[in-house]
């Protein structure tokens, strides 16, 4: 994956994004596998990005995503010093890896990722 590539993190909980659209650290918390699931979105239309969230990701949550926050692969690698790797299937899927084991350490990483990410793109209310 190139540094210039865009990745999107879907938001399923209202406490993942602030009222002004800036992402909160929770959006980039690691899962139980100690990684954060994202999707590669370059070349996709807004409708296609929403369709991935609705059809591919939402079954894991039992509800539709509110929207997504984007960031560049290079921001993850060079600003937060973590890795992004393509992990397919499903198509376009990737993972942010390199979270620390200690909670306060990965909270710092998640906070740094949230600061790098762009404003929230909302699909629905």
């Amino acid at each position: 994956m190139e540094d210039e590539e865009t990745i999107a993190r879907y938001a399923f909980f209202s406490d993942e994004v602030r009222a002004d659209g800036t992402p909160r650290p929770k959006l980039f918390e690691p899962d139980k596998h100690h990684e954060c699931s994202v999707f590669r979105t370059d070349g996709l239309t807004a409708t296609e990005i929403q369709r991935i969230g609705d059809e591919v990701v939402s079954p894991n949550y039992g509800k539709l995503p509110y929207g997504h926050c984007d960031l560049f692969v290079g921001q993850v690698r060079h600003q937060v010093h973590m890795q992004v790797e393509s992990v397919e299937p499903p198509t376009h899927h990737a993972c942010i890896r390199g979270y620390a084991a200690d909670k306060s350490a990965w909270k710092l990483q998640a906070a740094q990722l949230s600061q790098q990410a762009a404003l929230f793109v909302r699909f629905r209310g």
Binding site: F13, D15, R18, P25, K26, E29, P30, G62, A110, Q115
Partner: protein, 169 residues
């Protein structure tokens, strides 16, 4: 004559009191394993009611986040259960903040710990997670400056965290 109302049995590992100044106090005996009981929760809820709680917006947001997290538990196996004691400690933390300090934004971590966050300008933020055992993991960012660590809930709010929250006034 100042008095202190003890709301839980002193033999429990954690008990709360409300002093003459209506301030919360929490006492924990680190030599005992923490055991959560419904009686304890009821006592905390009772003490909340007595304490003339402010910051109702933050507490409402906390309850809403807990409800949303619990709904998600039905579908997402990777979410952790919220420990009721983590919620009670978060309520205590919010309620015991000095009046001049701002409200936190509240939420629930994927692992079920309660998170409280403060945001300032230009990426200035403090995020802390309260566990059911009273351990608070926190991270603070302000420009190039960052700090992280873990602190146990004490008889009073941890001074370092109060100091960090104070930077968001």
């Amino acid at each position: 004559m100042p008095t202190t109302i003890r709301l839980t049995e002193p033999h429990l590992p954690v008990f709360m009191t409300i002093g003459a100044d209506d301030a919360y106090r929490i006492t924990e005996d680190h030599t005992q394993e923490l055991r959560y009981t419904m009686e304890l929760l009821r006592a905390w809820q009772f003490s909340d009611a007595l304490s003339n709680i402010t910051r109702s917006h933050a507490l409402g947001a906390l309850m809403a986040a807990c409800a949303e997290h619990n709904q998600g538990l039905r579908h997402e196996a990777t979410l952790g259960l919220i420990h009721p004691y983590a919620v009670q400690l978060a309520i205590y933390f919010i309620s015991a903040l000095p009046k001049e300090l701002p409200d936190p934004e509240c939420g629930v971590d994927r692992d079920g710990e309660v998170n409280l966050e403060w945001f300032g300008a230009k990426g200035h933020l403090l995020t802390l997670s309260i566990s059911g055992t009273g351990r608070i993991a926190y991270a603070y960012l302000h420009g190039d400056q960052h700090e992280r660590g873990a602190i146990r809930m004490q008889e009073q709010l941890p001074a370092r965290l109060v100091e960090l929250v104070g930077r968001f006034k």
